[in-house]
């Protein structure tokens, strides 16, 4: 790492952290200069949030050292972090919704056993902070009645009230409108001018370029590069983020698309918080082609898939399956869609695609358990179900070959193959596949990719959603890029990584 003239605010050396078998952080070295805004960028799951939680004392690192302002320090609890002048704005706000702004701000820093003194202090201090940083917010408003932008401001005020010199913001713009985000950046610059140090964690390149002085790129638990923002480019960061992995080439013929099997028009979907996640999206998938949706995680792909597959109700829009409309805005029913030939490999196999406590054979019929093949009269045909499961295990090389084994005891790749086998062997006309190789070992990746191509060649319409750019590029016949809930571009399979990376970062208009 390059040393510059500035004083070090945070220095991390050799940080390691594992959760069970997953190493979330690996040998992290990081230096953040005092009075700068330091960006940490990486895809979801790259280990950014874990690293910051370690810095905030929410988790303890397995090994490694932390120094704040040049002083080595042990941070085992948030209290120690707060005492060391670290404040954190979490991705999910740590606010009590039915409390007022003031109550939230003093929580944990009340000053005395009675509240009256603390409240009065906080009120005065809040006024000062408001003047100094332009952080305007009604101290007596209830949190649940504030828009998210203001709630976030309360989080920042909370940190400043505790005397934070270092402010960590974890994906702060995820819930903000562009205007709110711009306002936040102005606040951050103001904080910097007042001598505070800001660490900004994000997966959005635009934000890094707009506001940071330095940037570190994280990938798969490690920091792969640190740059001065002024000396780097969006293209370079995009490449660093996604990584130049060995491209898994999949042999495939040119596609010969047939009729439109899946047609989505003007689909708008909100998430449970009421934020619009899919914004007027239209697309179509023909028989015998793979349409890939690329995009950085969190740009609406998940909600798009859930709405199309009937799991989540959409706000508006239409979806045609084989030319026939399906219900998407109310009373969506995944079971009915399955019967009409739509198969869906969900992105989250642990919670949605599989019941981990079930035996393997029980999961091999999930969603298809009404099929006549699996039932005789009132009862399930256990022999048929198990024979069927064994056949699938053999065909998809699922190991260990024991259909009575609890599903949780299979490895990630084998679990994913259980889902794939179930969905593909139903001979669907439309196959929706989300993140097919997340958490899957290399051997299984190749197998899964080959199976997806085979589905295409058998004339299925395949909609593939992945945050792995390589996967999208090597499988898709057409590539759509989603950014902020919209499809921002369509490219052919020969599109370059850089080209797609820019679209994914939502910077097309500014650069191209």
């Amino acid at each position: 790492m390059r040393e510059t003239g500035g004083q070090s605010a945070i220095r991390l050396t050799g940080i390691n952290k594992s959760f069970g078998a997953v190493q979330a952080n690996r040998d992290i070295d990081l230096n953040v200069e005092r009075g700068t805004i330091h960006g940490i960028i990486g895809e979801n799951g790259a280990g950014k949030s874990t690293l910051m939680s370690i810095l905030y004392g929410f988790y303890q690192a397995d090994s490694g050292e932390i120094a704040i302002g040049g002083e080595p320090i042990v941070i085992d609890t948030p209290n120690q972090a707060i005492a060391a002048g670290i404040g954190m704005v979490h991705q999910h706000f740590m606010l009590v919704n039915n409390f007022t702004v003031l109550e939230n701000i003093i929580l944990g820093a009340e000053g005395a056993a009675l509240l009256s003194g603390g409240i009065a202090n906080a009120r005065a201090e809040l006024e000062r902070l408001e003047k100094e940083y332009g952080l305007d917010v009604d101290p007596d408003a209830l949190i649940e009645e504030l828009p998210v932008g203001l709630q976030q401001r309360v989080e920042i005020l909370k940190a400043l009230y505790r005397g934070a010199d270092i402010l960590i913001l974890d994906e702060p713009t995820g819930v903000l409108t562009p205007a709110e985000a711009d306002h936040l950046f102005r606040i951050l610059k103001q904080l910097k001018e007042q001598g505070k140090t800001v660490v900004l964690i994000t997966h959005k390149l635009r934000e890094i370029m707009a506001v940071t002085d330095n940037v570190s790129v994280m990938r798969q638990g490690t920091i792969v590069a640190t740059r001065k923002t002024a000396e780097t480019t969006v293209e370079e960061l995009a490449e660093l983020m996604v990584g130049r992995r060995v491209l898994l080439r999949v042999d495939k013929q040119a596609a010969s698309p047939g009729d439109v099997k899946l047609k989505v028009e003007g689909l708008t979907v909100k998430d449970s918080r009421g934020v619009t996640m899919v914004d007027d999206v239209s697309l179509e998938v023909r028989a015998g082609e793979i349409v890939g949706i690329a995009g950085v995680a969190g740009n609406g792909q998940s909600q798009l898939v859930e709405a199309v597959s009937g799991i989540r109700n959409a706000e508006k829009g239409t979806v045609l399956l084989g030319g026939q409309p399906i219900r998407v805005t109310g009373g969506a029913d995944p079971a009915k869609l399955r019967r009409r030939g739509m198969a869906h490999v969900p992105e989250d196999r642990h919670h949605m695609g599989l019941v981990l406590s079930f035996e393997e054979n029980e999961n091999s019929i999930l969603g298809y358990h009404h099929d006549d093949a699996y039932n005789t009269g009132l009862f399930q045909n256990i022999d048929a179900i198990r024979d069927d499961a064994r056949a699938k295990m053999e065909k998809y090389d699922i190991r260990p070959v024991d259909c009575r084994l609890k599903t949780a005891n299979f490895s990630g790749g084998n679990q994913q193959k259980i889902v794939l086998a179930r969905e593909m062997e139903q001979d669907p006309s439309v196959l929706i596949v989300a993140q097919p190789t997340r958490g899957v070992d290399v051997g299984a990746i190749e197998f899964i990719h080959r199976r997806i191509i085979e589905m295409r060649d058998a004339g299925k319409a395949v909609l593939l959603v992945s945050v792995e750019l390589d996967e999208i590029r090597s499988l898709s016949d057409r590539i759509l890029v989603m950014f902020a809930g919209k499809v921002v571009g369509e490219r052919g399979p020969d599109a370059t990584e850089g080209e797609l990376g820019l679209l994914m970062a939502g910077v097309e208009k500014e650069v191209a």
Binding site: S49, V96, N97, E103, E110, S116
Partner: protein, 326 residues
């Protein structure tokens, strides 16, 4: 007219206060626990344990006050068992509460039989000072003749056990603790969003333990009131579902202290009026079976829970053990 003087008579309100007091204590007890995110359907068991321990020690020592301390100790012990299961070991709070109810119900009878050999009862508290008796408030006799205020003061407000006054005093105290102290702020916060409390550098575990201890103390008072004040000793199953009515009142009160008082007074009033109406007809309706009044608190609570008359929204983190998320 005669009917109205019957159901709005001073004696009805007087017995309403007596019946409400233990409900109120248990209800406020539940409020501390549930506001901190620990559901407690073991109020019944803690009251019962308190009643038994209170009556036993009051008899042995001859002092109602020692009885009260014993009641609190027994109830707090069970509260700690609940905390151990549901906070430390993240067990199911409902299951734990059910277990405590049974352990208390069985132990009281078994120990009572072993110690006193009166079929699970404790001996009657006849000794001077072994029971909390009615207190004549200053000037009650003198004021009795003043119209309107006199009868209310001397006939209704005066002449209750000290624990009744304590119960009603606990309403403003609880309100004050909850909304005016650091402990109360944190308690309310941990029931809504324990992660916010954790990231603010406060121990969720210790905070919740303190809440269940508060719950135990107040349940102890409730039990002591039943066995050492309202009655002169413990009898089997003497709480008779009051812990569950208190739970219903807590829901009815939407987990707020002043509402809790009104809910308990309402349920107490239903109880009192059921007694005076027994065998009498309500004009225009006819005779209403006493069971209607007995079931009414539960029916009202179900209707409230169904969201037909305002929504009872429990503390958001209630019932869930706190696990740090990645």
């Amino acid at each position: 007219m005669e009917f109205f003087s019957l159901i709005f008579g001073l004696n009805v309100f007087d017995s309403m206060l007596r019946v409400s007091a233990p409900l109120l204590l248990a209800c406020l007890a539940g409020l501390y626990s549930e506001r901190s995110g620990v559901f407690d359907i073991g109020l019944e068991g803690k009251m019962l344990a308190g009643a038994f321990a209170g009556a036993s020690m009051a008899y042995v020592s001859g002092s109602a006050w020692i009885g009260l301390l014993a009641a609190i100790a027994a109830s707090v012990f069970l509260a700690l068992v609940h905390g151990f299961a549901s906070i430390t070991h993240r067990g199911n709070q409902i299951v734990s509460g059910v277990a405590i109810n049974f352990i208390a119900a069985g132990s009281a009878v078994i120990l009572g039989q072993a110690w006193f050999r009166q079929g699970g009862r404790t001996p009657s508290l006849s000794a001077e000072g072994s029971r909390f008796t009615a207190i004549e408030l200053p000037g009650a006799a003198a004021m009795a003749d003043i119209p309107v205020i006199g009868p209310i003061y001397s006939g209704l407000i005066s002449g209750h056990s000290i624990l009744v006054y304590f119960a009603f005093l606990m309403v403003p105290v609880t309100w004050w603790v909850l909304f005016r102290t650091r402990f109360g702020l944190r308690l309310r916060a941990v029931g809504e969003n324990p992660a916010a409390v954790d990231t603010a550098g406060i121990s969720v575990t210790w905070l919740r333990y303190r809440a269940v201890i508060c719950c135990g103390v107040l349940c102890g008072f409730a039990g002591a009131y039943l066995a050492v004040s309202q009655n002169a000793g413990f009898v089997k199953d003497m709480t008779a579902g009051r812990g569950f009515i208190a739970l219903a009142a807590l829901i009815f009160a939407k987990w707020r202290p002043v509402n809790a008082m009104f809910a308990c007074l309402l349920f107490g009033y239903l109880d009192a009026v059921a007694i005076v109406l027994q065998g009498k007809a309500i004009p225009g309706i006819g005779q209403v079976p006493v069971q209607v009044f007995q079931a009414l608190p539960y029916v009202l609570t179900v209707i409230l829970l169904a969201g037909f008359i305002g929504k009872a929204i429990p503390p958001k983190a209630g019932g869930m053990p706190y696990v740090k998320e990645r």
